[in-house]
């Protein structure tokens, strides 16, 4: 048996000082040599706990085995079989809660750096133009997919592989959904997103931009022209806390802040036309991935960034790596505070009133419930507030299809097979769950593709 190496092969990164001046990606990526060395640390557990903890059951052990032998193409194809966008998933999956969280090596040292190996293989394949060799047996049936985010992408890929004619309708002027408008370049370079999307077009998926179902094309039209529909519209509508002062200039939803930066490239203003006002001191409400993205973007735009969170760091829902990077870069993290109102002067933000919180008994989610300490309100002076407290399903599409039933949290109601209340119409990803991870959305897109295939085979 090979010698056990407790420590990961170090991932080279931009230093924190370099990072905050640029939107370039933070990890520099493994070289082939480094990737193979890291893969060789894998114990090749016979029960593959990593694959079992992957929402889309990527055959982690097998791809690492091939990689450790230097068989890069085979390794890539092993991932690609289950994951249509490895270069993206490798970068944005919360691996510490999934494959890397259960990795046996964690008991004696660092878990295998599965995410970075996946990203390495995705990038390597892109660079060497390695693609799956597909023989698609064309079928006549047509499927429309609404939304080109992660779940739409994975659903489209599988449906194409089954042979259906697939058209994706995307409301924005660029494809990718949250991968395009939500996740910043320093976590997910757009050239990676573009390359993964070009794979879709390469296998014959028709992506139609600027198509807002319900506005310039009706759901009825789609229903008539297609044999099945998959709704992957995501959870694109911002939530606001609902406190006084949200009308002030300098208050943004995280969606607006990030859309301006990511989709519209406001960080390159005035070379790009979309502006963004970022003051000297930015308070970000929330502590998930989106909050980290907003705070780190604010830093890069020259502001002092403060996360304001009602629980403690340990309860942050962000990826481990993002929290770590944020703190390293100098994002301040204020624990146990909740906003009570935003204060303004001449219609601009000048501060935020916060109340101190303490952790109480666990709530339904199993996390300690934050409770207000009465009378502990205090004011923090700042000039920009970004609210990153979550998103919900956008009603723009849903209101045009009243026959699509919704669930308690406003998402589209689906059964085990991801069938909606309308025959031939399936839904998945954040449109049903109201906000989860890229990888869960990928998984549901694939599951829906299987259900749609079963349905079309029967009909």
């Amino acid at each position: 048996m090979a010698k056990i190496i407790k420590n990961r092969v170090h991932m080279p990164e931009l230093t924190a000082e370099e990072r905050i001046k640029t939107f370039d990606e933070v990890p520099l990526g493994y070289t082939e040599e480094q990737a193979i060395s890291e893969a060789k640390r894998c114990l090749q557990c016979t029960d593959s706990p990593c694959a079992k903890h992957c929402p889309i059951s990527v055959d982690v052990r097998e791809f690492i085995k091939e990689l450790s032998k230097g068989n890069l193409k085979e390794a890539f194809l092993k991932i690609k079989k289950d994951n249509p966008i490895p270069a993206i998933a490798g970068r944005v999956c919360p691996q510490e809660n999934q494959c890397e969280g259960i990795c046996t090596m964690r008991k004696i040292g660092d878990p295998i750096n599965i995410g970075k190996l996946e990203a390495f293989l995705g990038d390597w394949a892109m660079e060497h133009e390695i693609r799956e060799e597909l023989t698609i047996k064309e079928k006549n049936q047509k499927v429309a997919i609404i939304g080109s985010g992660p779940s739409g992408i994975s659903c489209a890929v599988d449906l194409r592989k089954y042979g259906y004619k697939v058209t994706i309708f995307e409301a924005l002027h660029k494809a990718g959904g949250v991968l395009q408008y939500g996740i910043p370049e320093f976590r997910l370079p757009r050239k990676i997103v573009d390359a993964e999307l070009s794979y879709l077009e390469g296998i014959g998926v028709d992506i139609r931009l600027n198509n807002i179902v319900g506005q310039n094309i009706s759901f009825e039209e789609l229903h008539e022209e297609n044999d099945a529909i998959y709704v992957g519209t995501g959870a694109g509508a911002p939530l606001f806390v609902g406190i006084k002062g949200e009308e002030l200039n300098g208050v943004y939803s995280a969606n607006e802040f990030l859309i301006r930066i990511n989709l519209m490239k406001a960080y390159k203003f005035p070379e790009y036309d979309t502006p963004l006002f970022v003051g000297k001191k930015v308070g970000v409400i929330g502590a998930g991935n989106v909050a980290m993205d907003a705070a780190r973007s604010a830093l890069r735009l020259g502001a002092d960034a403060h996360i304001l969170y009602r629980r403690t760091k340990a309860y942050s829902t962000s990826r481990e790596e993002e929290l770590h990077h944020a703190l390293e870069e100098g994002v301040h993290f204020m624990e146990l505070v909740a906003p009570t109102k935003i204060l303004g002067e001449n219609s601009w933000v000048k501060g935020i009133e916060l109340v101190k919180m303490k952790l109480g008994e666990p709530d339904k989610s199993g996390r300690a419930r934050p409770e207000e300490t009465k009378g502990s309100e205090f004011v923090m002076n700042l000039d920009t507030v970004v609210e990153a407290i979550g998103t919900r399903t956008n009603k723009l599409f849903l209101r045009t299809v009243p026959e699509l039933k919704t669930n308690l949290w406003g998402g589209i109601k689906v059964d085990e097979e991801l069938r909606t209340s309308v025959r031939g119409v399936y839904a998945g990803g954040d449109a049903t769950s109201g906000g989860a991870t890229v990888i869960q959305a990928l998984g549901e897109g694939r599951k829906a593709a299987k259900s749609i295939h079963d349905y079309l085979c029967r009909s």
Binding site: A171, L172, H173, Y181, L209, N210, I212, Q215, N216, I217, G236, A237, P238, F240, G242, E246, E247, L248, N249, Y252, S253, N255, E256, I259, R260, L263, M264, K265, F269, P270, E271, Y272, D273, T274, P275, L276, F277, S347, N394, K395, L396
Partner: protein, 275 residues
């Protein structure tokens, strides 16, 4: 998909007309709805009022105001716009209202009111009264066209050099006094809506105004265009753009319109330097 410019002309020294080929939008767009322009890959998404959507083409009236509108003015017939997106927002409910005053004092309102008047006039028992306001005689445009789709037509100029002197509100007040107005639609300057709302509220006449807060995606995703209606947050892009003037918090909206004043100057300076 790129969109060809099929027509472009000056309306006056500040405002111009531009028409693009956009068959799907032209087919679907109804009065009250708007489009979003993104003129080139580095451009911003700008919501734009539509004057006419017919025969596969969409016509807009635009004021040379900021960087994008000035840059677009340099485009020629035969050039292409990167993206024309829409229709956005909700259509106006076209039904029997009775005597309807349709008012405007700015390029966007002048544009929107053409299709609105035309549609409202087609309903039996509707009597459409257009009131168009311009600063002075020399800058008046589209008078005949709007007159054709109205039952009554008034023009006012702020300096009295043409038509009646004053703002559309002054004319409207006379009509309200006579009890001749059942419904008011207004488009144009947000700053004027506040007084309009006070006026029509005192006569208890329902009034709808088109709001144009700053937008980005205009599909309900960013929340930039949030407006407060009876204290409740609404998004102008997907809940509007038309709202009950008696319930809108105009002061907050006017403040929010100043958000990027500084950036607008920077953008213009950069444009003038690099063009």
């Amino acid at each position: 998909m790129k969109h060809e410019i099929t027509s472009k002309e000056d309306l006056n020294s500040e405002d111009y007309l531009i028409q693009v080929r956009a068959p799907v939008i032209a087919k679907k767009l109804q009065p009250g709805q708007f489009v979003v322009l993104l003129i080139h890959p580095k451009g911003e998404r700008v919501p734009m009022s539509v004057q006419k959507a017919e025969n596969g083409k969409v016509t807009m009236f635009i004021k040379k105001l900021g960087k994008t509108s000035r840059e677009l003015y340099t485009y020629k017939v035969g050039d292409y716009l990167e993206n024309v997106i829409g229709p956005m927002g909700n259509p106006v409910e076209i039904k029997k209202y009775g005597n309807i005053a349709v008012c405007s004092d700015l390029v966007c309102g002048h544009a929107e009111n053409y299709a609105l008047c035309k549609a409202l006039k087609q309903v039996d028992e509707n009597h459409v009264i257009s009131i168009q306001t311009f600063p002075t005689k020399d800058v008046v445009y589209w008078e005949e066209e709007l007159r054709r789709v109205s039952d009554e037509y008034y023009i006012t100029t702020k300096d009295g050099s043409y038509g009646r002197k004053g703002h559309y509100r002054d004319m409207l007040k006379q009509l309200l006094k006579k009890g001749n107005v059942d419904m008011v639609f207004a488009g144009g300057q947000t700053e004027e809506y506040l007084k309009l709302a006070e006026l029509t509220k005192s006569y208890n006449v329902p009034t709808k105004v088109t709001l144009r807060p700053i937008m980005v995606d205009a599909t309900g995703m960013c929340g930039s265009c949030r407006v407060f209606i009876d204290g409740k947050m609404r998004l102008a892009c997907i809940d509007g753009p038309m709202f009950d003037a008696h319930r809108v918090n105009f002061t907050e909206l006017i403040n929010r319109l100043t958000l990027f004043k500084k950036q607008e100057t920077i953008a213009m300076e950069h444009y003038n330097k690099t063009r």
